[in-house]
Amino acid sequence: MQVAGIDLPSRLWIGTGGLSNLTTVADVVDAAGPGLVTVSVRRTCDTGSGGLLDTLQALGVRILPNTAGCLSARDAVLTAQLAREALETDWVKLEVIGDETSLMPDTVELLDAAETLVQQGFTVLPYTTPDPVLARRLADVGCAAVMPLGSPIGTGRGIDDPRAIEAVRAAVAVPVVLDAGIGTASDAALAMELGCDAVLAATAITRADRPAQMAAALRAAVDAGELARRAGRIPRLTTARASSPMAGRVGT
């Protein structure tokens, strides 16, 4: 798949949130074969080389900094600018949350920050509510993709409203990346069947009992969902429809 004209090697993207230690990273990345790996940007007193950054760069994966935890457009813009400087990428997964309880996007601040960052030359991938109108507004201001949530961050509930994800898909031409809420492989497959271009999973992997195994499962599920969508599923019917011919039955 492509985002902003760049080929990404996989439709499974992974987050590093919830990682217990750096030694798990290599195993997870190896099992996931991710298109992108997201990292947050946080204060540091250690001005030596960063452990996580070194590890990811050694693994040769594309790094997508995020603005996780930002509560205002102003903080998100500064965080993106710092990330561009520290990580030498103008790509940013833009998160502006409304409060620390629901972790739901503050859509007003989000649109404002997205427009500002696009004007400053960033490739902006916004984390958003699954709202087709907002998704269109985000695409209209120049976002390179939209990342609707399946269910709130960290809940692992999967996709609460599949029709909303389909509506977002139908509303925009840019890639749609299901973000937040993935709990297990079937959630990722469903996202792809609904028409998403990619899936981002973090805690589904990092907090699984066996993270690398879940990463492998999500990788297979994303591929399966994409294949199934392209295959063209049969319609859902309200009544049964025989698959065997009625003619030629014994006793007729």
Binding site: G17, V39, S40, T44, G50, L53, D54, E85
Partner: protein, 62 residues
């Protein structure tokens, strides 16, 4: 003089620059009073009393 580094008060010598706080630029970015300062300008950026400096790097999350 006192400055604020990542939310904490810190004493630095008069005439100190951002470079004095940040020996290595690798994987690190800095903002002074809410504006990003590129690593190439750290040496020429002198600190003033009550300056607020943010220093960040990549961290697991999101």
């Amino acid at each position: 003089m006192r400055i604020n580094l990542n939310g904490h008060s810190r004493f630095v010598e008069e005439g100190a620059t951002l470079q004095d706080l940040l020996p290595s630029a690798r994987g690190v970015a800095a903002a002074l009073n809410g504006a990003v300062v590129p690593a190439g300008s750290w040496e020429s950026t002198r600190l003033s009393e009550n300056d607020a400096v943010e220093v960040v790097t990549a961290h697991q999350g999101g």
